[in-house]
Symmetry: C2
Subunit: 265 residues, 2 copies
DNA sequence: ACCAGAGGGTCCGTTAGACGGACCGCAACA
DNA sequence: TGTTGCGGTCCGTCTAACGGACCCTCTGGT
């Protein structure tokens, strides 16, 4: 499936929707057009389409998130077993440590951020929900590698920028994680960034392997600080597991098998 | 702006996304194709487009909500000043009364459901987030009419199925709401359905006029039951207002002026 | 009062890209 | 071993998305 096998106008419409951020939840025609690099006419037509379907609301040329997004919000949170209370747990951990807290799941040879909270530090590591990161580096990547089959290690090594020789490193990481129950990374994927990660009990999340991580500038992730970060991390992971176990109304969702399923995208 | 001024393929893609519901968060190609009435080929192309952008995830022909929906979830909730805790308040009210609880805002000559919770009764009134209802009938409609300018009453009466003569009824309703602070409706818009509604303090919601309502089969909305329902409703409205006032980090959002702005769609 | 500039929105001829019928391969089932 | 139902691919047709030119309004400047 080449990229051209997708519908251009739909891609463009989604590009526009992706312009929405926490910081700028209001779009204007000209801003959109500039940002997505399309003529105003085309942009307007897409915005109007989004508006008429309730995805956006508009008035006087200002476009804001519409109720359709709220509808999907509910469905998506349920499907991902991320009830509202989980966000509060993440926020707490972010406040306690001052750093960025992220939740990842694996999708094929990538890990995807499905929830996050940011601490107060002005120098912070920013990963947004939906962002995809590789598996060949990073603290949470190691969690997934340790859970996956050997085949996964082969596949990841194969597509690693360090080449197939990276496989030995992966094996060492996996051994560490299996021994310690947690993982740390310093400037592996990106300079200056460190992270520490643990697994959330999959039993509480429909069997989906999920990694919880705290990340930030390496200068704040010293050996001396790690135990404290790890403690916060473990506490948060336990609270999430407990929180979900509480409302065990959680039916076996389609997503369960889906995410754990193999097969590189 | 005629309907033809919107992009067909985008409309179709959104139609597919609207197939997602709480009950059926997993889509398959053939199901979608049947539901939206399109050839499999076209449907597949749209699904693939949604998948490649992270809006859906797929594996073995099963499509589930993707992380992009989670990303928007966050943004939409913030923009609408509906932090996670609000849902819990609605759920509580739904459990206490056994009925359906809805939150509406006005958009032009319509009211739109922006949040809801369902009670345990198997016979229940179902309104989903994003659904648009008219202003010429219904308990929460009366709340909005009482808040709006006289012009609004004219416009609503003009498009009412009861004809312009309906204007007198609207005036009477408005007088009732302004006197009592709440509204009730019995089988006004739809047979067998009753509802009771109050206003949530706009000050807590960025100045947006918002109606909170409880609705269900008329047989359960007897005169004797109304005081109890009203008490629950008022308590929930106060809790929501208080909850939002608490986290008054709520910056003045774009949506604020937008929703309160006049102008029929 | 007048102009300049920017922004939202409309019109319409062109053509590229979305469309969908025919087809394939696979798995379950009889 | 034929049949059905499903997810997915191919490719010629033609429609519907595109975008340049244009208009209107509002705002700020002088």
């Amino acid at each position: 499936m080449a990229d051209g096998d997708t519908v251009r106008s739909v891609r463009r419409a989604l590009d526009i929707l992706f312009l929405l951020t926490d910081e700028r939840p209001v779009l204007t025609l000209t801003d959109c057009a500039r940002a997505v690099g399309l003529p105003k006419t085309t942009t307007l037509r897409l915005l109007q389409t989004l508006e008429r379907t309730g995805v956006l609301w508009s008035d006087n040329g200002r476009y804001v998130p519409g109720p359709a997004l709220l509808r999907w919000s509910r469905i998506a949170s349920d499907a991902w077993l991320l009830p509202p209370g989980v966000q509060h747990i993440l926020d707490t951990a972010a406040r306690e440590t001052g750093e960025t807290v992220n939740v990842y799941v694996r999708k094929g040879l990538q890990r995807v951020c499905i929830a996050h909270a940011q601490g107060p530090h002005s120098l912070r590591h920013v990963v947004r929900v939906g962002d995809e990161l590789p598996l060949w580096a990073g603290a949470s990547a190691k969690i997934f590698l340790a859970e996956g089959p050997d085949q996964l290690l082969d596949d990841v090594a194969a597509c690693s920028p360090h080449g197939p020789a990276h496989r030995a490193t992966l094996d060492a990481w996996v051994a560490d994680v299996r021994r310690d129950g947690w993982a740390v990374s310093h400037a592996e994927r990106e300079d200056l960034i460190s992270a520490i990660s643990v697994r959330i009990d999959p039993a509480a999340l429909g069997g989906v392997v999920t990694a919880l991580s705290i990340s930030g500038p390496s200068t704040r992730f010293t050996e001396a600080k790690l135990p404290e970060l790890l403690a916060t991390l473990r506490r948060a992971a336990a609270r999430i597991a407990h929180h979900n176990a509480g409302q065990s109304t959680a039916q076996p969702l389609g997503i369960t098998r889906l995410i754990s399923g193999e097969g590189a995208t």
